[in-house]
Symmetry: C2
Subunit: 465 residues, 2 copies
């Protein structure tokens, strides 16, 4: 069976992937062009559309009680807006020359070609799953999809034991550590790096390590998992590293993801050094006038280093979708790039970063100074003023802000936004010292912690000029 292109003046947009980027693009295109002008067909191989993968740890941890709360828009809601969203239908080939995609019904196996005038690729990312003995044993879980989340919840409900091992100590790892603590587990985090949160510099990662230990989490850094050990029943019973064994009733893999670009690569589309699709600022795949891409499957421009990066994050995927949909719908929009902002928490510990770490700056050929300060979230005399540490990097000579990392408690995390905007604007740390930030005793010391860091960084720039 084949769906032909003969549709008069009506164009057809095909969207590959029914999650944030793809469906935001479809929705925005639909806002700009009605069904008489633009037919929209979207393929999603899974059971769910437009869901918040970032919300899965909070569902597993019990903060969110209903799976469906994580679904921003159901297939039916998309269809009600004249988007022909075909669930459980996997695109298996993109024929760029022929302007068509081949899709397979996951349940029946039936395949068919669908032609497109415009194509949007939003294939997302796939979790890294090391090839280890026992990795597929029952009780070992990823947390990428809602199905993954449900499977983990089912395991937690069935499991008598109370010991969980989380493999990986990035965002997913630390968020899953919190979720499992909330479920009453004794949690061990096994981490390949010297410190948790390798998106921070090691000195800041060390603070996260200490705070997590303070929360009762067993932190095993600098340790590579070599095997998942199973019991007589075939289920996981422990995680082995070169040096030790960690008993586990359940194992969660939070090692990270890679761009899912198998299809794109097979179709000859341009792939970057980090494995993601390469686009221009209008999110059009480079060299292809009628193909756009967005979300976790693309690389984005890092505005601070001037280099491409892969940053899988829902907030970028939504922005990409918005830009793609606007352009597909005949408007004009660009996604200028990112500065690398991320925020996370483990219980009451807040962790945030934006811009370059020391090693990123070095790799980009930049010379820099650093400044680290301790301050508080509120005026020191105000109740619940909580300590926070702010580290700032600034370029030598120019004094341009290069990055900020924050570790603290309530009120620490979102302060990174100040730095994110300053990075985007290309501000110097000296300019930042004069920023007119909101001040009142319940909200900030008279010098906001970010300003205190900027003052110290500015002095360092001056000293090392």
């Amino acid at each position: 069976m084949s769906t032909g292109a003969a549709r008069g003046t009506r164009e057809r947009l095909v969207v590959v992937g029914g999650d944030a980027a793809g469906m935001s693009a479809a929705s925005q295109a639909r806002r700009l062009k009605g069904p008489d002008e633009l037919e929209i067909v979207a393929f999603e191989r899974g059971h769910f559309s437009s869901f918040s993968a970032c919300g899965i740890p909070y569902w597993v941890g019990g903060d969110v009680t209903e799976r469906d709360a994580l679904i921003a828009r159901t297939p039916e809601e998309h269809r009600a807006r004249d988007i022909d969203l075909r669930m459980r239908t996997e695109v298996t080939e993109i024929d760029v020359a022929g302007g068509r995609v081949r899709a397979r019904d996951v349940d029946s196996g039936a395949q068919s070609w669908t032609s497109y005038d415009k194509l949007v690729i939003g294939t997302g990312a796939r979790p890294i799953r090391p090839e280890l003995p026992g990795i597929d044993a029952p009780g070992v879980h990823g947390v990428q999809t809602l199905d993954d989340g449900q499977a983990l919840l089912d395991t937690l409900a069935r499991t008598r034991g109370r010991r969980a091992v989380v493999v990986g100590a990035g965002y997913i790892g630390v968020e899953m550590a919190e979720a499992l603590i909330n479920r009453g587990y004794e949690v061990t985090v096994v981490n390949r790096g010297r410190e948790p949160m390798s998106t921070l510099d090691p000195d800041m990662g060390r603070m996260v390590h200490e705070a997590m230990v303070g929360l009762g989490i067993t932190m095993v850094d600098d340790a590579e998992v070599t095997e998942v050990l199973t019991g007589d029943d075939g289920r996981v019973r422990a995680v082995a590293t070169r040096d030790a064994e960690f008993p586990a009733d359940v194992v969660v893999l939070g090692i990270g993801v890679r761009p899912e670009t198998t299809l794109a690569e097979a179709a000859g589309l341009p792939i970057g050094a980090h494995g993601g699709l390469l686009t221009d600022l209008a999110m059009r795949v480079r060299g292809h006038g009628n193909i756009w891409a967005g979300g976790d499957c693309v690389e984005v421009l890092d505005l601070v280093s001037g280099q491409e990066r892969h940053i899988p994050l829902g907030t970028h995927a939504n922005k990409h979708g918005q830009v793609v949909g606007t352009n597909v719908g005949g408007g004009y929009a660009t996604f200028p790039g990112v500065v690398g902002t991320a925020v996370s928490k483990v219980c009451d510990l807040e962790i945030a970063r934006t811009g370059l770490r020391e090693k990123d700056a070095r790799r980009a050929g930049l010379r820099f100074v650093t400044a680290t300060i301790e301050s508080t979230s509120r005026a020191g005399y105000y109740p619940d003023a909580s300590p926070m540490t702010v580290k700032m990097l600034a370029e030598r000579r120019t004094g341009r802000l290069l990055g900020v990392q924050i570790v603290g408690r309530e009120g620490a995390g979102k302060r990174v936004d100040i730095a994110a905007v300053a990075l985007t604007a290309g501000m110097t740390v000296e300019q930042m010292t004069a920023l007119d930030l909101g001040y009142a005793p319940p909200f900030s010391p008279v010098w906001d912690p970010v300003l205190v860091a900027a003052r110290k960084a500015a002095r360092e720039v001056e000293r090392q000029r």
Copy 2:
């Protein structure tokens, strides 16, 4: 008695006013120049140095239990750093031509002249105190100084009744309303404006009105106090407006402040349209090479409108002091101006603003569009996601951000910092839609409320271009 200028090569800095601006300047100058190079004499007419006036409502309300917690640095601490701080000593004249100030010991009445090489004026602001019958009756309190705060606390401790009237509904008024609620009072706020918080547009002020009523506060808007009524004991018993009487066991005046520039004006120094001293960006009084000024007694440049404003706020005073002290100490620093950021709270209601209101924009000759949106502090599915309203103003044609106002609950207020930095950088609302702000479900919806407002404002700019 006179202290002469003959001190060899050692210069003398005289500081008028021992609070945030003056003592920050003195401290920073001392950091840069030791006592062999620079003698520092500072005069303060009150009992306290370097205290947080912004903290007084929280001391009165009981969140801060010790008065001394509000004192950042005592006279003794200043003196230990070789700053000759003379308390209870009021400067009564500045002789610019003679390079000297006359000071009076408040207790003894003795006067003397002190010569200066460099002068810093940090005389602060004085509370507006309308000339009304009964305004000086016992039980009527200002909240400008620590002495004021103590007097009010003494009254609260003595008062049997439980009815408080707050006159004024700006920052001080709403913060004092919270303080008195925390002390168990029935609070009535009498306010001259149509809405509370005249630093917001009326539509946003209306939300504050409604939220304050929801907190159990009686809000009397559009009402001018005509008289303070006293009982047989001479103490306050009610506040009268043209239309009504409001019984009161205690009255707090929170009407606002004016720059305290009596001395400066008498000395012929330049005063602006808002009654504050005029300085250059290095905080040097215009036309006077050896006189600096900072804090609540100066006008500052509003970077958005390009006009001078008077914004009494501890965070500015501290920055001014830092800049003044650096320049006095032989370094170089400037205070480029403000964007008008302010944040406040009444119980769990958070109120924030930055940039221009509609009427400011009109007054500055700007044409603009507005966008108001509702969103939440966290992902909608995350526990304790609280609603917030964000209003954004953008210039027509250019799309430049002009102002942001936010009313919400926990997590709303400090989001104004995003806009404060964007205003400083001169960003357009279209540029803001791409800002890489911190996202995770406990911290923000996938589109931060400020981004949602920017998107709507950008569409309005496009529509009205």
